[in-house]
Symmetry: C2
DNA sequence: TAAATAATTTAGATATAACTAAAAAAATAT
DNA sequence: ATATTTTTTTAGTTATATCTAAATTATTTA
């Protein structure tokens, strides 16, 4: 089995590969994990020795098949625990991330499969992210982030890229919730901010917020 | 907050104080935690510096009020998670100990209080141990272990002192379950073994087994 | 293309929580 | 009361995962 630190790196590298393409840089990992680049280098060597990543000095890393499987197991656990916390314990979607970060490291295959069954095999977590099944498979969940949309296009808000409580509380404050229909009204060329509209209100969001809102059925 | 290692020591010292009286010895802690006496000494110094235990060289330790509170929190978490695993996820009573040992270290007061509510504030865990409430209070649970009973006396089997899967699987094999009425038929003076009887069968148990079965309403 | 800048790695240090082996203190036996 | 045994502590070591500072490699700019 892998240590907590190793599991966290696997998960982080998996997510960064998906977002920025493979061959993830040392600095990118360091910034996402709030550590220093030198610490990341140390860990990459260790993961490489265990055949979890392909690592070449100064060239970044990507997960091996073994590493991908390990990452998917951690992500499965994280998302199932988040689902449990919201569905069964009545937590809000902005309260579960940090607790799930701890629960995801509990070691027991049976536990997570029983939890999955208890929750009736959910396909998506409270933030709209697909939950890998026991074989690591997820449903297709093709979404477009607002920052990739054109003026006049619209879609249904179905997921976030950042599920930190800070970001989710910002969305709560702005009255944006999963399921809302969102339309791009205008894009400000000067600062890249987006004017968007829901059924109930209009607002302006920065590019970095637009980067983190995932929409479905965009037309 | 306390580290996992610190929490484990608090829990162990609490349990040993209850079983063998206060001022727990270094060696006793070492044997219960599968560590070496020298490691225990190191940790006792650390706990002492944090005011969690009263420690005098060569004289053993006991918990301070702060330490007792910490221990009760860990025990509360352990027992609530065990209850969750059995009641909600359909684990058997002999399968939950090791998983709960991990879950008990998840840090979140809200989580454990919500879990408590979800389980409808259980008073006893699957092994018959009382669950401390949010204030550290437990119900009175006066029991007698078989090794303290006289020939001819009987009672209801309501708890175990050892909740390791090994011991519980032994009980399963011998068809002994919580709720059974058990009567002491004879005590063998030679080896201290007990001849006991339930409604359905008779059997012989060693003194060390008799030491771990807790009975209620013993007459 | 050489210089400047940025990214990455190496070297050496720190904290935690374990360990072994040896020394010291306490308990037991003669 | 002294010797022996047992228990406990000290001293020094190890592994994990982090850090800072310095060195090295890669990238960008002039």
């Amino acid at each position: 089995m892998y240590s907590q630190a190793e599991e966290n790196y696997l998960k982080t590298i998996y997510n960064l590969e998906n977002r920025y393409g493979s061959d993830v840089s040392t600095n990118l990992i360091a910034s996402k994990t709030n550590t220093k680049a030198s610490s990341v280098t140390d860990m990459l060597k260790k993961l490489s020795a265990k055949n979890l990543v392909q690592y070449r000095k100064y060239q970044g890393v990507h997960l091996t098949e073994l590493g991908r499987k390990g990452a998917l197991k951690v992500i499965r656990k994280h998302r199932l625990w988040e689902s449990f916390l919201v569905q069964k314990l009545n937590f809000k979607w902005d309260e579960v991330h940090d607790i799930a970060e701890q629960l995801e490291h509990v070691k027991s295959e049976v536990l997570i499969d029983k939890l999955d069954a208890f929750l009736k095999f959910p396909k998506l977590d409270p933030h709209g992210d697909p939950i890998p099944d026991a074989h690591g498979r997820t449903i297709l969940n093709k979404t477009v982030v607002i920052s990739e949309m054109k003026i006049g296009s619209a879609g249904v808000f179905v997921g976030v890229r950042d599920s930190s409580s800070e970001f989710l509380q910002y969305l709560n404050k702005k009255n944006l919730a999963l399921g809302d229909r969102i339309k791009v009204i205008d894009i400000e060329p000067f600062d890249g901010s987006y004017h968007i509209e829901t059924r109930t209100h209009r607002l302006v969001i920065t590019n970095s917020v637009a980067d983190n809102l995932c929409l479905k059925n965009v037309k």
